[in-house]
Symmetry: C2
Subunit: 198 residues, 2 copies
Amino acid sequence: MARLRDMALRHAVLAALVHGEASGYELAKRFELGVANFWHAKPQQVYAELTRLREAGLVDGREVIQESRPNKRMFSITDDGLAMLDEFAASPTPLPVGRDDLMVAVQAIDVVGARSVLAGIDRRVDLAEQKLAALRELEQQILGERDEATFVRTTRHLGPYLTCRRGIRFQEEALEWCHWVRGVVDTWQQHGRAVPRP
Amino acid sequence: MARLRDMALRHAVLAALVHGEASGYELAKRFELGVANFWHAKPQQVYAELTRLREAGLVDGREVIQESRPNKRMFSITDDGLAMLDEFAASPTPLPVGRDDLMVAVQAIDVVGARSVLAGIDRRVDLAEQKLAALRELEQQILGERDEATFVRTTRHLGPYLTCRRGIRFQEEALEWCHWVRGVVDTWQQHGRAVPRP
DNA sequence: ATGTACATGTAATCGGTTACATGATTGC
DNA sequence: GCAATCATGTAACCGATTACATGTACAT
């Protein structure tokens, strides 16, 4: 059982496996296209991490031979993996640091020409709406016919719903801010921005 | 004038300089403690980036000799730097990827014991409230006596207000979600979570 | 024929973090 | 006397991204 340093992705992969086994390909997809809305990683990184986790005995991996498709490996979390997740969940987590290129452009709107920045805002609106649609679909999958109150009283799998709600609220908030920015910048531009009259 | 690759911090530092010169120390502080709420970096990284930017001719740096303190360097953006920011603002920016350790713990709440996760939520509430207080102070500094409508019609420096508002809204949303989680998890625990009755 | 989905990686590089170093001054 | 603030870095490391590689099957 090899040793592992304190890698960030490790716990995210373990968390993605708590509700049953999955193939590397499935996990890679989930982590790339944000269906796993609680973390993000490229496929190569996921495959590498799975290999390391298996060497460390934190996941089991079994080969599945397929006829009309390439073979695949199915992974599931071990007791050691669960123990590690437990330890992780009990340790304090820092505030995530925000890094968003669009915010840099917005910060500089006074000197870079508002037109470029507003174009960036519009692109962001599109992307956020796509993401939001995907998350709402996921929410529907989770809830099924049930309303929230019923779901919460009856489910065994609350975690995915909580993180999904976080993703939805985050994107909704981002969209509201984008629309607010459009309005404010329009007003600002109509009043001699660079040369306010005395 | 040395060449620079496409580093992420570069544009953020340039954006932080658009409203006048600043010392490396001032910039390092702003980037570390999130007063620059649109980006984040450690002091060492900021100093290194400033050196590179000066070699590339994107910022000017002048030495200021001080008596009762160590000497410092004051940096200001050049025309080349402004041109680079302009180009950056016109290029498309991707959706920022979310990576938050607390979300990983929440995702796994079904297996790791809700107590640890709720403790993490409480710590997050504290941190978010501190950050929120700092951002609201910054907002007051920006607005002064003016209300938003008046400010927008008269200011030349809209950018910092827009990003500050984003930071405030983000933290407010995070706090609301945390409180919602507390309530939902309490309900969930009161109804035989692991063994729902038939 | 052409492209998308399945399925899994290696190698090089980059951007960010951690650890460590230095030394004076101001306030408790 | 002791900690915090001012002021600036170097070196080593780690985690994430980018570019590249391989081959089958199914749908248009």
